[in-house]
């Protein structure tokens, strides 16, 4: 694999629900170590695209290439097997369990048939240190008592335990305050630094501009434009999301 081979490449992905075309010929790619922002209005097809990638709703048509190889991803374990981890918006944490228990849920370390708490706790500490998550004082603290940012950190850390090559984050900053958002954005940058591909789905363009390399706009089930954050402006992206760029009213919409 060379640097120019995308980690994930989708070509002409089409997905229909009955008569509705949720996705219509979408081309999408993620390079290793690249953070891609997936933006678009409600119903634009962001979630459907992510569900195709993570195998929840396989595509009807189109090519799915992983590291240059064609793959048939028809169920979530297929995607997990390739090295794709998804952090859903609801985080899927058990509030009554502590950080270690949540991190290792479903893949508990055992020794002689019993839980190996020492190994798990050490690994949890290591992982959080690697990710520079300093806001969690005790990995034995109950997750239910933690702030939104800490919970998001736990959920992201958990997705990394399977040694994925790509992480999909669904609205990671949606319910967070300013400080906690900064904390999660810093964490996303560390994922990139580890060489992971990252897809960030977000409605918050300010957050997206802070952390992503490239913005991929979905509009009405089709690609609505791609932007390099180094050169693009928020106005351009908003115009692409709303479709106002076509008739030149984007600026007006922004100022209104």
């Amino acid at each position: 694999m060379t640097d120019s081979t995308p980690l994930l490449e989708l070509r002409g992905i089409t997905k229909r629900f009955g008569a509705v075309r949720a996705l219509n010929g979408v081309d999408f790619r993620v390079m290793p170590g690249e953070v891609v922002g997936l933006v678009g209005d409600n119903g634009a097809g962001k979630s459907t695209l992510v569900k195709v990638i993570s195998g929840i709703n396989p595509a009807d048509d189109g090519e799915y290439l992983w590291e240059g190889q064609t793959q048939h991803v028809t169920a979530p374990p297929d995607a997990t097997g390739l090295g794709i981890a998804t952090v859903y918006q609801d985080l899927a944490l058990c509030d009554n369990l502590d950080v270690v228990e949540n991190l290792f849920l479903g893949r508990e370390a055992t020794v002689g048939g019993l839980l190996d708490e020492v190994t798990m706790e050490n690994k949890a500490n290591e992982l959080l240190a690697e990710l520079s998550v300093t806001t969690i004082q005790s990995v034995r603290g109950e997750v239910g008592a933690m702030s939104g940012g800490q919970r998001q950190s736990v959920a992201i850390a958990r997705s990394l335990l399977g040694e994925p090559k790509m992480v999909i984050l669904d609205e990671p900053t949606a319910a967070l305050g300013v400080a906690q958002t900064a904390q999660v954005l810093a964490l996303i940058k560390r994922l990139k630094a580890r060489g992971l591909g990252v897809i960030v789905i977000s409605h918050n363009l300010a957050d997206v501009f802070q952390v992503v390399d490239r913005i991929f706009v979905m509009r009405l089930g089709a690609p609505g434009g791609e932007f390099d954050v180094a050169t693009a402006t928020q106005q351009e992206v908003v115009a692409a999301i709303t479709g106002l760029a076509e008739n030149g009213r984007a600026q007006g919409a922004m100022n209104r």
């Binding site: 058990c94 500490n125 933690m146 501009f209």
Partner: protein, 415 residues
């Protein structure tokens, strides 16, 4: 990247609250203990205090209450309901309920008695058959509830009625089967010799101490936070002293009842299972967030079916112990207030009805609280009406206290 100005690692609003967010365990230090008393969050300690209050009240009214003879009686009285409660705790941890445990205990004890007495089976195969029927019933109920998405309240309510009918059918026309002296009656009728009692107490204390010390040593070696040696010594010492005092008291009378040993053995075994095995961890996880647990790759369906099978098996074992104590199985076996006490006990002792919180010891402690009230009221000559009303008031009081403790915990940043 255009904007690289990330603020330095932002501070959490209230780190002390987070630091306090330890799991519900025994307090890790004297300071922690004080903090918990202040916030009203005592966990298992609360029910011990409740038990102490109940005992002090009855002892002050009736000096026979804490006599060895009466404590032996008490231990025999709580065995059946305590064993059933062990299964109920597992179900409660899932956030479910099992209303059929009373009927199942009656049905399974009837099966054991009929196989043993009417069909001439020897006791051991009869007991195994009874427990197996219990396990099958539980698995069936768990399967139906999970497969068809029916609330377990309804499925087990159907069981409550249905298995009672089957029990009457199994018992036949006479409606009563008396047990013959033998293994079945020995279960609740035998006592350890004094020496055997001491050996058991010492062995249990040593085993507990060894597990605690090696566990701490492993954590220290791995560089993880560990309880202080003083605290460890206090904890092991308390367990050892409690065990020795219990044996001393039992030995003043008839000795350690085998029934009490069976109860404590099952409680300890299930406590170990829930805290130290993957399956136990998964029970708590399902009770906390079933969907998250499913997505984490845990076979939630299987966990639920197995837990219901275990609960009904424990109900069967409790029923057998009740039959052994009564020396018979009749139409009212497993009926009356058995079910209600089996559920009220763990709840009084702090196991949540909403799943994910509680522990197996609450089965024993809750049974002791309810059993003590019932036993004490009997000694004082109160009739059933008063007994029921007092037990109801204690249940309500315990739950209200628990709710107050929870809000205190929330204020202190614990959940």
């Amino acid at each position: 990247m255009s904007t690289t100005t990330v603020p330095t690692e932002p501070a959490e609003p209230d780190p002390s609250a987070v630091a306090a967010a330890q799991k519900e365990t025994m307090p890790s230090s004297a300071k922690d203990l004080l903090q918990r008393i202040r916030t009203g969050d005592l966990g298992s300690l609360r029910v011990l205090i409740l038990l102490a209050i109940v005992w002090i009240i009855f002892q002050s009214q009736e000096s026979r209450f804490l006599s060895s003879a009466n404590l032996v009686n008490l231990s025999l009285q709580v065995t059946a309901v305590g064993l059933i409660s062990v299964g109920v705790v597992l179900v409660l941890l899932l956030g479910e309920i099992d209303l059929s445990v009373g009927s199942v205990s009656g049905l399974c004890s009837a099966i054991v008695a009929v196989l043993n007495i009417k069909h001439g089976w020897s006791p051991v195969p009869a007991i195994i058959a009874g427990i197996a029927v219990g396990a099958a019933i539980g698995a069936f109920q768990g399967f139906v509830a999970t497969r068809f998405g029916i609330p377990t309240f309804v499925v087990t309510l159907a069981g409550l009625i249905g298995w009672q009918g089957l029990q009457l059918k199994v018992l036949g026309e006479t409606g009563t089967v008396n047990l013959q002296p033998g293994l079945l009656t020995d279960l609740a009728g035998k006592f350890l010799s004094d020496a055997a009692g001491w050996i058991v107490a010492i062995a249990c204390s040593v085993a507990y101490g060894a597990i605690a010390v090696t566990g701490r040593a492993r954590r220290v070696r791995a560089g993880l936070s560990a309880p202080s040696t003083t605290l460890l010594a206090v904890r092991v010492g308390a367990v050892a002293i409690a065990a020795l005092i219990a044996v001393y008291i039992f030995n003043q009378d008839r000795g350690v009842p085998v029934a009490a040993l069976i109860l404590v053995g099952f409680v300890a075994a299930f406590d170990f299972m829930t805290r130290r095995t993957r399956f136990g961890r998964h029970i708590y996880a399902v009770g906390g967030n079933s969907e998250a647990t499913r997505r984490a790759g845990v076979k939630v369906f299987r966990v639920r079916v197995v837990v219901f099978a275990l609960a009904s098996s424990m109900a069967a074992i409790g029923g057998i112990m009740a039959a052994s104590r009564l020396l018979a199985v009749n139409q009212s076996s497993g009926g009356s207030d058995l079910l209600l006490n089996a559920i009220a006990g763990p709840v009084i002792a702090g196991t949540s009805l909403f799943g994910g919180r509680g522990n197996v010891w609450s089965a024993l402690l809750g049974a002791l609280v309810i059993g003590s009230i019932s036993n004490g009221m009997d000694l004082l000559g109160y009739e059933s009406p008063t007994k029921y009303m007092v037990t109801g008031a204690v249940l309500l009081g315990a739950v209200v206290l628990d709710s107050i403790a929870r809000s205190g915990r929330a204020q202190a940043g614990r959940v």
